[in-house]
Amino acid sequence: MEEANKTIISVKNAVYKYNRDTEDEVTALRGVSFDIAEGDFVALVGANGSGKSTLARLLNALYVPDEGEVLVGGVSTDTGDSDKLFGIRRTVGVVFQNPDNQMVASVIEDDVAFGPENLGLPPAEIRERVDYALECVGMSEYKKGTPFRLSGGQKQRIAIAGVLALRPKVLVLDESTAMLDPRGKKEVLDVVERVRAEDGMTVVMITHFPDEAARADRVIALDGGKVVMDASARKALSDVETLRAYGLDAPLPARIAYEMRKRGALLPDGIVTAEDLAEALCGKNI
C-alpha cells in the first residue's frame, strides 16, 4: 500500500442479521472490521453466503448494522438525517450485479441523469455530469439511444456511469461482472482501471473471480460473515491453501506455482499473475 492516506470507510465490528428477531433469523455478518483509505483498490472476496453482498449494502447505508458501526467519511451510516444519508450515498456509489435491474429510464442519458436529478442540481450541471460520466465509460455516442439493444457489458458501463454522475469518492462494485461474458467483464474492468488512474477513485470490488481480485492492491476475504484474511493482494492470493480452506480459488498462475512447488520446483513466493509466473520460470532453470 501507498503512504498512509485518509481513512474514508471504516467498518467497526459490524454485525448484520436478516429477519432479525424472527424464526428465520440469519446472521450474515458476525463482527466485521476493516478500514479503507482514500485511493485504495480493495477486492472483497468470499464464497457464496459469506456475506460480501450484505457488506456492500452496509457501505452506503442501504442497510444499517445491527451491532457495531460503519463510518463513511467519519459519518455513521446509522442516521435518520436525509442530508447525511445523501452525503454518504454521494461518497460511496454502488454498482450492483444485474445491469437490467439498475436502470430506471428508457433513454440512456436520462438514466445517467437520475442520480444528479435526485440531488436537485441545476439542469446545466446535470447535463455536464452526465456527459462526463458517459465519457468516462466510453458510451457517449449511445446517449440518445435505449439500453435494450446493448450488450451486458455496455449496460453495466451505463450503470457505472449512473453512479459516476454522482461524483462519488468510492466506487463499490458488487459482483458487477458476474453476469457478463469475458468481453463484458473486460469492458467493465477497463473502466474501473481508468477511473482509478484518472480520478484516483477508491474502488472496492466484490467478486468471486480470483483473476479480478488480482487487479486490486489489497484483498479482504470473508467466510461465514467474518474477515478471515486482510492482506496485500500478492500475499493473499498466492496463499493457495488458505484460500482453498475458505472455499476460494487462487488465480490460475498461483495454483500452477503451488502445484509445481509441491512437486519440488524452487519458485519464489507471491506468484499471482501470469507475468509473475513467467518471470519466475524463465529467470530460473528448473
Binding site: 445523501f86 450515498r89 437490467d100 430506471v104 437520475f114 436537485g120 439542469p123
Partner: protein
C-alpha cells in the same frame, strides 16, 4: 414485439415530431372535445381538412395513419349497422324508407346518423394516432406527469405516477424477454402452450406466470436498492436535466386548436344568430 421506447413512433423529423409533447397532448384533448361537439358534416369536413394539413406536416405516410383504423374497424362497422337499423326515421315528409323488416328499418335519417357516427369515430381515432405516431412513449409519460402537476395541490402523488410510468416503460421489454425465456424453459421440460382448448391453454400459462411474478418481485427489490443508492428519496427536491419549454410554435398551435373548438361551438350553438353559421350546419344531424 415492437420496441416500447419508440412505440408506434414513425421516426422522421418534422415540425410535428419536434413539437412539445405536452402541447401535442393538450391539443389532442381539445381536438377530441371539438370532434365530440361538432354536429354537422360540414364541421367534420373542416376538422378533417385541418387534420390533413397536420398529417402532411408530420410527414407520416397517410396509409400508416389510416392503418391505425384497423384496430377499431369492427367497432365502427357494428356501430354503423346498429345505428342504421335501429333508427326509426324522423317522421319528416321527404323521408324515404328503403327496407323494413320486423322492428328494423333502413331510412335516410338512419343512414345519415350512421355515416355521421362513423365519421366521428374515424376522426376520434386518427387524431390521437397522429400524436402517438409522432411522440415517443417516454415523452408522453413526461407530458402526462407535467399535465397532472396541478393535482399535487390535492396531495395526489404525481411524481410517483411519473416514476411508475417511466419504470413500467423501462421494464416492459425486460419482462417480455423474461417471459420468452421462462416459456422456453417450460417447453424444454415438455410444457405445451399451443394445444388443447382455451382452458387448457390458460392453465398452461400458470407455470409461466408464477416464475415471472417471482422474478419481477426480485427485480423490483434490486431496483429499489439501486435507486436508493443513487439518492432517490421519493422525488423530494428533484430537478430535471431536460427542462421542458414551450416554444412559440407550440403555443400558436395550442391557440389555433382552442380557436377551432370555439369556432365549432359557435357553429353548434350560434349564440349570436350569425347567418353564415347556417352554412357550417350543412348536413347537421
Amino acid at each position: 414485439m415492437k420496441d416500447v421506447v419508440f412505440g408506434q413512433l414513425y421516426p422522421v423529423d418534422s415540425p410535428v415530431h419536434r413539437a412539445d409533447a405536452r402541447a401535442k397532448f393538450l391539443i389532442m384533448i381539445i381536438y377530441i372535445v371539438t370532434v365530440i361537439f361538432a354536429d354537422s358534416f360540414m364541421q367534420f369536413a373542416l376538422i378533417a381538412l385541418l387534420l390533413l394539413v397536420v398529417m402532411l406536416m408530420s410527414r407520416v405516410p397517410p396509409l400508416k395513419v389510416l392503418s391505425s383504423l384497423k384496430a377499431i374497424i369492427v367497432l365502427a362497422v357494428v356501430t354503423f349497422i346498429f345505428t342504421v337499423l335501429l333508427n326509426k326515421g324522423n317522421g319528416a315528409e321527404n323521408e324515404s324508407i328503403y327496407v323494413v323488416f320486423g322492428p328494423f328499418c333502413i331510412c335516410t335519417s338512419g343512414l345519415m346518423t350512421g355515416a355521421f357516427i362513423l365519421c366521428r369515430i374515424v376522426l376520434l381515432v386518427i387524431g390521437p394516432a397522429l400524436v402517438t405516431l409522432t411522440t415517443t412513449p417516454v415523452d408522453m409519460a413526461d407530458a402526462i406527469e407535467f399535465l397532472l402537476a396541478p393535482l399535487k395541490l390535492i396531495k395526489v402523488p404525481v411524481h410517483a405516477f411519473g416514476m411508475i410510468m417511466s419504470i413500467a416503460l423501462r421494464m416492459i421489454p425486460t419482462l417480455f424477454e423474461e417471459t420468452q425465456r421462462i416459456m422456453n424453459a417450460q417447453k424444454a421440460r415438455g410444457a405445451c402452450f399451443d394445444h388443447g382448448n382455451i382452458f387448457k391453454r390458460i392453465g398452461a400459462l400458470v407455470p409461466v406466470l408464477i416464475p415471472l411474478f417471482v422474478s419481477a418481485f426480485k427485480r423490483s427489490a434490486d431496483l429499489a436498492d439501486a435507486m436508493e443508492s443513487r439518492c432517490y428519496n421519493g422525488g423530494k427536491g428533484k430537478t430535471r436535466m431536460k427542462v421542458l419549454r414551450f416554444r412559440a410554435g407550440d403555443i400558436i398551435a395550442m391557440l389555433l386548436s382552442a380557436a377551432l373548438l370555439f369556432f365549432v361551438l359557435v357553429c353548434v350553438y350560434n349564440w349570436w344568430n350569425w347567418s353564415w353559421v347556417e352554412f357550417m350546419r350543412t348536413g347537421a344531424v
